[in-house]
Symmetry: C2
Subunit: 205 residues, 2 copies
DNA sequence: TGTACATCAGTGAACGCGCGTTCACTGATGTAC
DNA sequence: TGTACATCAGTGAACGCGCGTTCACTGATGTAC
């Protein structure tokens, strides 16, 4: 049997496997279940093994978050590519962002937790910076030319904040009645976005 | 000495004292330090004492969150009262909301955590509903008449989501350079709000 | 090609910790007579 | 006004738990000669 041998002593790619296990756990058990020990267990490895690949728990979390931001950036790039009309791009990116965050709620929670607490300064090469940049470009390309560099930054942050707030709030229990009334979460998101200036999908000149 | 006797066996107002202790702890140690045992300790009482006043930990947390939402509602009402011009109200409420959330970051974290996970359905008498209603009214009063009931609800939620996202994001480490460039968090908030349609402080008709 | 050895990624047991919660209890309070 | 007793809000010790992390170790791998 060549396919699934009993695992050898040396794993071979444990770092990647641990990140994978962490995401599996997030998806199946939620963010509260994400302990280092549980991740090791899920990966079929002793509790001490992860320390050969990550300095401590937070370093694993950051790796997971970075992978999430990379995938989110991919989604945003795809949305961008599929939306030739610049004035419609920001709406498309907003929808893609919301779709990602709500399909991976637990991951997204880890991502924003990391964004808040991460120690090292975020240089522009980080995947999180990429996400920010993509939002920013979409805003710029969709609006009339002229604003200063600072205005551009602020508009990008505003768009990001609005969509971030929306996906966070989509988890509020209290809004479930109105979600139901509108026929589901998707419809709810679209409806609220239509009221969020930046994502209204109409050029404003 | 009549002022500060050694505490009597019966506390007298332990429920209130526990909520107070929890908030003290939040302010001084942050949200991660908020264990039931730590709250009891802070209140000078045994770890079992809280169970005479709260079913379990989450019930204490909800009481803390409700108190927070009540105070936030007070702030919003104050802002409303101080802003006679209806079209300027929503901007004033946004600023008040952000001020509250950022002056009490740990409390606000507990508040949104509770909003997410709270079991019982939130009826309209809850303080959280009051906050939602206040945002909603300000949006309505500041815009042209005519929209349907549903539009009103959605516009209120949009405003709420935008400001919630902004205050959450204000904690992101990665944005610290731009905060510094603008001369502080206050200035940063104002600047981003100016780019968030709903809070721009200009009537849109 | 074969052997010695350094390197490295694992193991598994143990550390100390703080947590939420339960339990049998006890001290204080207030009410009935 | 005084006493018996039910009620209630506390105590403090204990429960079982899972956590992050460390430690001395061992099995596998690959390189030097």
């Amino acid at each position: 049997m060549s396919s699934s041998e009993a695992r050898p002593y040396h794993h071979g790619d444990l770092r990647r496997a641990l990140i994978h296990a962490a995401r599996q756990l997030l998806e199946n058990e939620g963010p509260d279940a994400l302990s280092l020990r549980a991740v090791a267990r899920e990966a079929g490895v002793s509790p001490a093994a992860p320390y050969h690949h990550f300095k401590d728990k937070s370093e694993l979390l950051e790796a997971v978050a970075d992978q999430g931001f990379e995938e989110l950036a991919d989604e945003l790039r795809r949305a961008k590519a599929e939306t030739p009309e610049p004035t419609e791009r920001i709406a498309a990116l907003g929808a893609a962002y919301a779709g990602f965050a709500l399909n991976r709620r637990a991951l997204y929670r880890v991502m924003s937790g990391t964004a808040r607490t991460r120690g090292r300064p975020l240089v522009d090469a980080s995947p999180q910076s990429t996400v920010r940049t993509l939002m920013l470009e979409a805003v710029v390309e969709g609006s009339a030319p002229g604003p200063t560099e600072l205005d551009v930054q602020l508009a990008g942050i505003a768009a990001w904040a609005a969509i971030h707030g929306l996906v966070e709030m989509a988890n509020f229990k209290m809004l479930e009645p109105i979600k139901a009334e509108l026929g589901g979460e998707q419809a709810f998101l679209r409806a609220v976005m239509a009221h969020l200036g930046v994502f209204a999908g109409r050029p404003r000149d």
